[in-house]
Symmetry: C5
Subunit: 89 residues, 5 copies
């Protein structure tokens, strides 16, 4: 999974019907501390994430393993909102 921050929304009317009702969020990848990197990801939201949230994005077939995304033609899902990253001392 990768770290990202939600920074926007992708709007699409003409899309595969299996995407109906899904929220496509624009995410900017970050490092483990939440510092933004220069890579963007579009992921479907499975956890009611909102703009500004620090999240985890899962890629590949695993992106279809939530109730929201089952069988959809998508390769990335937001499956957790991060409260904290605790480093070992």
């Amino acid at each position: 999974m990768i770290f990202a921050r939600v920074i926007g929304t992708v709007v699409s009317t003409q899309k595969d019907e299996n995407l109906n009702g899904m929220k496509l969020l624009l995410c900017k990848e970050t490092d483990a501390s939440g510092k933004p990197l220069n890579t963007y990801h579009v992921a479907v939201d499975a956890v009611q994430a909102g703009e500004g949230d620090f999240v985890l994005v899962a890629y590949g077939s695993s992106a279809r393993m939530t109730d929201v995304t089952r069988n959809a033609p998508i390769d990335a899902v937001i499956m957790a909102i991060i409260d904290d990253v605790q480093l070992a001392e």
Copy 2:
């Protein structure tokens, strides 16, 4: 999913029979604002996309999750045409 713009068509006569009837589109990757990058992708069209369209491309097994692409030996599909990318303020 990644951002791309459709810029052409790939023509193939000798191909796996599970590809029959599919449109292979040449896409140039872009950033979130639609600005072209230097990476190309060939993806099957599942949403009647045309040249110049700003689209989303999904990779991997998810590329087979549309009615158009079911069971086909392809690893990339255009599954949405983008109307707008809205950034948080």
Copy 3:
């Protein structure tokens, strides 16, 4: 899918039995115009491709979606020989 040109053959005697009868081709990645890049791929041939052919290679689980490659432990397949890449004007 990625663009490539077939440039050779990989010969293997000691291999997984599910590979029996498959042709392992060495491919050099190209750009959309067929110009060679510096990346190599080994892919199983599903379309009777020959050396010099300009082809499309699909990666991942989709590589197993041809009659030739069903259930084989391979992650790349040549699933189309390219006649032409037509750019929008």
Copy 4:
């Protein structure tokens, strides 16, 4: 699989319900000798790994092939703790 060292924990309350009970560990990729590289991975723990452990991380659909991670929307799992890497002489 890739080499990594466990360096922390990711805490998440609001997450997909299929993640309940799983431990999300922050891992820093290493080379074969355990020397840290600059890439981070978040992986689910399937082998009771703890902070400081030198581990193997598997990516993709294979990350769901443990009893702990079955059907979860995750793309990386720690599936082995490394005792030793023995180089040929």
Copy 5:
């Protein structure tokens, strides 16, 4: 598939039970001529490969498509030992 040379063994006692009996080999990626590159891969051996062997490694779900690796949480398998790479003249 990628080219690699087997250069060592990864020893693990505490691992997912679906890995029991599998040999985890350390591989150094090579180019098509067998010249070593600077990337390492850990792959499960499905073809009785030994140290020094020039092999092909398949990634992703396809890594589980051998009798040895069925259903195991691993993302890379050695599925062929290379006798020769024949370049077109």
